[in-house]
Symmetry: C2
Subunit: 174 residues, 2 copies
């Protein structure tokens, strides 16, 4: 399988994400999507991902734009925001290394629910739908563990959204 | 693998759900969790499930109660409700054959988000966490297709909950 390296033409491509698995493992407490995986499993997963380096102000995800990939922030910080009904820009929160963003659009092909912009120089890894399908085909055990973890995170999100005021809770699920 | 037959001691156990795959296939338009699977795949999935027959007023799921299984309504109707903050009983909607309920608790072991009571005699199939793990182990391709479909449904739910007023939208995700 060839992993696409074309998702961020304006960023420097750092190649396969395998050697960046250590970065995620180092911040595993802030990486809920990966915190139940061993280092070897993270490494295997990251071998299907590509890394990029972006400068400050790089738009990592843009609200409304379709995208079949998720990103994992490896180093640096980013800000998450979305347009509110009044037309203003509502700040949702800061994204830290270890966070994954963009799962929903990767899964259903719909537009991003928020905009994510690097507030510092960042390194980030990209997993697209084609790579996810390749993981499920070639490493089904790892793939289903990853899907199950994603499901648990979505479940928590759905549950939170049912609570009073829950719909506005900050969410990494874009 | 032995599929547990103890989830509904007060209901008549109809045995393996394999022969009920046809019931789901017949209402596939109302069975979003299965509508992308072939009849053979539904049959394979249902071989890991057990069927029960319940009388009218059977409590299929009870709000707040933990449960590691989902149910699929095969025949009959059921009503979904939950307690509102004022202590009253809020009707969420009617559950029809083909609907799946209880995915979230199956995945994260937390309490049910609503109560589901049969309003007619019902037949229903049960998939518990142990059976899901067995599917993922022995039929990884089918298992990951099923997980992906569940993820897409959760994604739609998370997305809806972000829209104004969306948190109160009827959801089959309990």
């Amino acid at each position: 399988m060839t992993v696409s390296r074309d998702h961020f033409p304006d960023c420097e491509c750092l190649g396969s994400a395998t050697r960046f698995a250590e970065d995620v493992h180092a911040v595993i407490d802030h990486a809920p999507l990966f915190d139940e995986l061993s280092f070897q499993e993270i490494e295997a997963l990251f071998s299907f991902m590509v890394c990029y380096a972006g400068h400050r102000h790089t738009v990592l995800l843009r609200e409304g734009e379709r995208g079949d990939f998720l990103i994992v922030l490896l180093t640096g910080r980013a800000m998450l925001s979305r347009l509110n009904p009044a037309g203003g820009n509502e700040l949702l929160g800061e994204v830290r290394p270890g966070s994954a963003l963009g799962e929903i659009s990767m899964l259903d092909g719909t537009g991003r629910g928020a905009t994510c912009i690097a507030s510092e120089p960042v390194d980030f890894a990209v997993l697209d739908r084609q790579a996810l399908d390749a993981i499920l085909l070639t490493k089904p055990h790892l793939g289903s563990r990853f899907l199950l973890r994603m499901l648990q995170m979505f479940a928590a999100q759905v549950r939170t959204s049912r609570e009073p005021g829950g719909a506005s809770v900050f969410s990494a699920l874009i």
